[in-house]
Amino acid sequence: MSGNLLHRPPILRGPDGIGGALPALILIILFFVVPVVALLLRSVTEPVPGLQNYATLFGHGTYARVFFNTFLVATVVTAVTVIVAFPVAWMLAIMPPALGSIVFGIIILSMWTNLLTRTYAWMVLLQRTGVINRTLMDIGLISEPLPLINNLTGVTIGMVYIMLPFMILPLVGTLCAIDPMTLRAAALCGASPFDAFRRILLPLSLPGIAAGGLMVFVMSLGYFVTPTLLGGTSNMMLAGMIAQMIQSLLNWGLGSAAAFILLLVTMALYALQLRLVGAKRMTGGI
């Protein structure tokens, strides 16, 4: 950064030290770290000091089901998102810019449209009498409406929809960074398109897939809005359960214990990601 001036006169050192970060640091510590730590403390102090909240969470089948649902949905959403995003990112990386900018425009429009708007659309589309069920019945594929909402199917469709841009955009970056000459070299070496994909293109995009996939997985674990609206009350996920414990049941101890578990899993996965791909890559999506 400053290697261009070997002997920097004192005046040029300027105010680029840690000082500039102070307002941000104060904001984050006072209004982020302190509240979160205070919340976590409540998980071992309310209603009485001890670990009984955690014992409750791990001891009851109801909660076990919520944890299971959460991991199941996050896993399925991640897998589907990766499989759907890869071909799209691949095309976006190489298609003519005129065509590509249309697809990019659609992705950005979808991403920037209000989250509730998009979820509302899926609620209407997926309901028993919704367009999707009606269309499928009209063309004779099904005779009874499929249950697409208020279950994990609906949650998965809605979540894949929301996560796709977060997977596609970083993957385009990864694929653009691969020199097309490498694939030409593979072809000339005798690799069929299938071999070139399996042995060269896929392994070379693996860092991007891992980074994007982990990000989607972690975001899915803690997602609140879409699972709550599309999943219904009987298919609760972790974030929905935490909100319910606080808002409806006013059980701060149990709610903050569940929040702590979510926080711990999230942070552990991010730490893993940082080790795997580095901080730069992780934030490359926006």
Binding site: D179, M181, T182, R184, A185, A186, A187, L188, C189, G190, A191, S192, P193, D195, A196, R199, I200, P203, L204, L206
Partner: protein, 359 residues
């Protein structure tokens, strides 16, 4: 005439209204080392890419032993290639890179292992098999690329400016390596470069490209000593071009008048000029002498600057007509130094070693 090994027939490649390659035709015998030389954008790489199958030509054909390659996809052409940029597979080790073409051909493990060892020793990287390309220098990476391209004994090796990313010393080292490998394997090599020294150093024959056409094809000596056009003369080696007026031609030997009014006769030409036609006389810097010889012509000049180049001294001189020319006399040093002292003097050249081109 026997069927040529590799034959390029009326190859044409247009991108929209821009024609990158204009009906190029070349026959290449087996075992040849042919270089496509030319400035960037002259169509040499496009021609190579058509052979590799990366670009489909607009018209024309590429034949290998009489069979057209055009309908064969790249991965079935069985051609080896080394690229300008490092195209090693970064996620595979050096040995796995070299093994790659054999693996996709589903060769047995024992053969793959033997062949990889043989290739790595051919490029003198025996002990690098377990390293990853990222840990290698540019020169080492290109040697691995060479090993990978030769691992499946392709009959043709294409090389697209493989040394352009390397520094001068490494370039020379790998040039020697490439010549040795050509000698040892007998593979037919098509080599693309914009560097005339590289072309002269490496190849049996050079095809000089200009604006999508082959300007001249021949040995390095042909191109240097018998350039077909002013472009060839200026691209290969250094040249001075003196404006001249053609006076008359007798038995293929022309008489001309230079800009300072002096008349020179005995210039060799291979085309017809009319009386009074504007022409340019090409004289190589090293064709100048400081002393007159038999049948030499004189040129009045003023020495402006000299520079010492080790084996030779280079002199910048100005003609009486005010043109700066490059002079590299081949006389011995003592004589050169002695001769250079005065600033105004006559220098001499053999008109039979100079060429006349239309202006």
């Amino acid at each position: 005439m026997t069927e040529p090994f590799l034959s390029i027939r009326d190859l044409r490649k247009a991108f929209g209204s821009f024609v990158a390659v204009h009906d190029v035709t070349i026959d290449i015998p087996k075992g040849e080392f042919l270089t496509f030389l030319g400035p960037s954008g002259s169509g040499k790489s496009t021609t190579l890419y058509a052979i590799a199958g990366f670009q489909h030509p607009t018209s024309g054909d590429v034949l290998l032993e009489g069979r057209s390659l055009l309908s064969v996809p790249s991965h079935k052409r069985n051609i080896g290639m080394v690229f300008q940029r490092y195209t090693l597979f970064q996620h595979l080790t050096v040995a796995e890179n070299v093994a790659f073409p054999l693996r996709v051909r589903r060769r047995p493990d024992a053969e793959v292992k033997r062949k990889v060892a043989e290739m790595l020793s051919l490029v003198r990287l025996e002990s690098f098999g377990t390293r990853y390309p990222g840990a290698l220098s540019g020169g080492q990476q290109q040697r691995v690329a060479l090993a990978r391209a030769l691992a499946y004994d392709p009959p043709i090796l294409l090389m697209d400016e493989p040394l352009s990313a390397l520094d001068k010393k490494l370039r020379e080292e790998i040039q020697a390596e490439i010549r040795r490998i050509h000698r040892e394997t007998g593979v037919t090599i098509l080599y693309v470069t914009h560097d005339q020294d590289e072309a002269l150093h490496l190849s049996d024959h050079i095809a000089l490209f200009r604006d999508g056409r082959i300007e001249q094809i021949g040995t390095g000596e042909d191109l240097y000593l018998r350039p077909a056009s002013e472009f060839v003369a200026s691209f290969i080696g250094n040249s001075n071009f003196l404006p001249a007026e053609h006076l008359e031609t007798v038995n293929g030997s022309a008489t001309i008048r230079l800009a300072d009014g002096s008349v020179v006769s005995g210039v060799r030409i291979d085309q017809d000029f009319s009386h009074g036609q504007k022409t340019r006389l090409m004289v190589r810097p090293e064709a100048f002498r400081l002393r007159p010889g038999p049948a030499t012509a004189g040129l009045a000049v003023e020495f402006i600057d000299t520079a010492f180049f080790g084996e030779r001294r280079r002199v910048i001189a100005r003609t009486a007509a005010g043109q700066e020319i490059d002079v590299r006399p081949t006389s011995d040093m003592a004589e050169a130094q002695e001769g250079i002292a005065p600033s105004r003097q006559q220098i001499f050249f053999d008109p039979a070693a100079a060429f006349l081109f239309p202006a």
